[in-house]
Amino acid sequence: MDLGLDEQQEMLKNFARDFLEKECPESLVREMEEDEKGYSPDLWKKMADQGWMGLIIPEDQGGAGMTLCELVVILEEFGRALVPGPFMSTVVLGAVPIMQAGTDSQKSEFLPKIASGEVIMTMALTEPSAKWTADGVTLEAKKDGDSYVLNGTKLFVPDAHVTDYMVVVARTGGDGENGITCFIVDSKSDGIKYEQLKTIAADKQSEVVFENVKVPAANMLGGEGTGWKDVVEPTSKIATVASCAYLVGLSQMDFDTTLNYAKERVQFGRPIGSFQAIQHKLADAVIDVDGSRFITYKAAWSLTEGEDDADLMVAMAKAWASDASRRVVAHGQQIHGGIGFTKEYKIQLYFRRQKWQELMWGDADFHRERVAELMEV
């Protein structure tokens, strides 16, 4: 039993931290908030050269063959540096579904290109109902000869506008989890329209409207009617843990920044960090940050090892990290006082992104209910 990083993970972490401090400074984060694409192709290429896009892709498909535990280590650094762009979308929402449910030919067509950074992907799951559950999926897929025809609207689709392909979660019939079918869809297909949403974190999400979009039957991912179990369920668990990892890094950086500020800012002739009102907030915050980290590690490890309680750990991790990270960044704002409210100072960058990831893949209420369901079993 050892909750820390092993030697390889430690190296990965240190390398990623150094790399991102140099290649993804605050100025780039701010620039990308205003950028239409929302990412730097130059940084994208450099990250691909480090092998990060292929980190969890098997070696025979051009990846590094590592596990979710190592991905969590990298994503923690992404949260720390607030790396903008379609990394999680491509690696978690593109590669993972194909690794989970792809045919051999789908794997060899897409995975090496994802690993090399050539292909950008995402998953189009949520709709205007804004639900993470299967009953939220209404986008229709109708069989027509050797193809399927897609009609409907997806909303809150991360990074959709810059992708080459999307895993589209559609309904071919049935109710709830039955009758869901997934497709790998060329993002430039006729009949797809994108409109970017404006979000609290200035990340890039889109409304994606499908109007008679034709998809070859060979692009079906997983079985017909079993796409929820084959594709969405396993992917969303990993995406949930990925989101937690990002929140851990984000919370840690917000906390570190706030702690330094409390030591330096002088009022009433003494550093504000000498006041117990501030000290107790920071003591609470360090528990929230550390707790988020270890429950996230436990979830990642449990999924990797196929433990019986893996689903419970995933739900616990997001239930905790969603609330805990919000408490941390709220203290961060309060302790910074007026300067924290300015656009110029960096702490707000963390505050706004926390809310985004708090809500992604289910907030604390959603996962508390999951925990309660799993406790009853």
Partner: protein, 392 residues
């Protein structure tokens, strides 16, 4: 990132479980740590059973009657004892405070004299630290010890002394140099509870138990050989971080037990035509409680991770203790809220759910959030010692 115990550690866990099956007192459901009268004989008898396995202080070095457990072995041992609600209230001061301090600072003669009696379960210790005006500000103690020939003459008063009415010996801190700065004039004594001049009166707690006492010293003469370590160095001995398992795992395990009991109760209890567990307010509380119990365990495991890697934990052990204490109080409160009006029934009432365990816990944990360093003092320590925040 590895959350698994080794096969040897798991085998040891099983050995403890098997032993507990044969050795736990029948129908034992009491508080495993409080020092009330009903529990006392159970505690003592169980301590003596543990002694037959060398398990009273298994974390001590072998030369002092321990088994030299590694931190993970200690963790597993403590986890299993907590899981079984094993009654450990007899030896905690002896094995956790008096013994380790004697091991580090005691003379050979003191070690010979005191340590075997602890590991055999023969002698019970109590702790004479707090005073009426020295609680959170412990260094403010006023009890005086004055050298007189071969003795020290001690006058003053201690308070919140758990188990003094059963204890054979006391670890006592008293002021030997009133002129020195307050941390630098304190000495550490080992005191026989039968010493003339020592008297006590009971303090009944809000659970209606007699666990605490006030202890008075009126010209009590303590022989010089019962001074531990150097004169005036007592503060540093009393606050030394002793190099044993410091994960507070017991609280996390206790919390996990409470969640299991509560979940079962909510699934089995029907009210107004539905099960309690079908109410969303109940589900929210249960889920929060189980997440927090898991978090508590992980924060404890993190301390063990550091210790295994040879790193002395700093704020990490403080947050494990703080979180596990506060969390158990929140959990007890949640339980009472879930139970509604039944929650406020005393454990002796025939309608009390789960034999009143949650009502007892709610009161007991309120005390634990104060004893041994209040929640607020813990946060001060985390902030100043752990996070390096300035005092002024």
């Amino acid at each position: 990132m590895d959350f698994r115990f080794t096969p040897q550690e798991e085998a040891f866990r099983q050995e403890i479980r098997d032993w507990l099956k044969d050795n736990l007192p029948d129908s034992w459901e009491g508080n495993r740590m409080s020092r009330d009268a009903e529990n006392m004989s159970v505690y003592k008898e169980f301590a003596q059973r543990l002694a037959t396995k060398g398990w009273v202080a298994p974390h001590w070095p072998q030369e002092y009657g321990g088994l030299g457990f590694s931190v993970v072995e200690q963790l597993v041992f403590n986890e299993e004892m907590a899981e079984a609600n094993a009654p450990m209230g007899y030896s905690t001061i002896g094995t956790g405070w008096a013994g380790p301090t004697i091991i580090v600072y005691g003379s050979d003669e003191q070690k010979q004299r005191f340590l075997p009696a602890i590991t055999s379960g023969a002698v019970m210790w109590c702790q004479g630290f707090s005073e009426p005006n020295a609680g959170s500000d412990l260094a403010n103690i006023q009890t005086r010890a004055v050298r007189d020939g071969d003795d020290y003459v001690i006058n003053g008063q201690k308070i919140w002394t758990s188990g003094a009415h059963y204890a054979d010996w006391m670890i006592l801190i008293a002021r030997t140099d009133p002129e020195a700065p307050k941390h630098k004039g304190i000495s550490y004594f080992l005191v026989d509870m039968k010493t003339p001049g020592l008297s006590m009166s009971p303090l009944i707690d809000m659970m209606d138990n007699h666990g605490f006492n006030e202890v008075f010293f009126d010209n009590m003469r303590v022989p010089r050989e019962n001074l531990l370590g150097e004169e005036n160095r007592g503060w540093y001995m009393a606050t030394t971080t002793l190099d044993f398992e410091r994960s507070s795992i017991g609280g996390a395990v206790g919390a996990a037990r409470m969640v299991r009991d509560l979940t079962e109760y909510c699934a089995d209890t029907r009210t107004n035509g539905h099960r309690l567990i079908d109410e969303s307010r109940v589900r929210t509380r249960l889920a929060d409680a189980s997440v927090e119990a898991e978090l508590g365990r992980l924060l404890s495991y993190r301390v063990i991770t550091l210790q295994q890697r040879g790193i002395v934990p700093n704020y990490e052990s403080s947050i494990a203790k703080l979180f596990n204490t506060d969390m158990q109080l929140r959990m007890a409160r949640s339980g009472l809220e879930i139970m509604g009006l039944y929650g406020q029934l005393d454990h002796k009432d025939k309608y009390a759910p789960l034999k009143g365990r949650f009502e007892r816990q709610y009161l007991w944990q309120t005390g634990l959030a104060v004893g041994g360093g209040t929640t607020e003092i813990q946060k001060n320590i985390i902030a100043m010692r752990g996070l390096g925040l300035p005092r002024q």
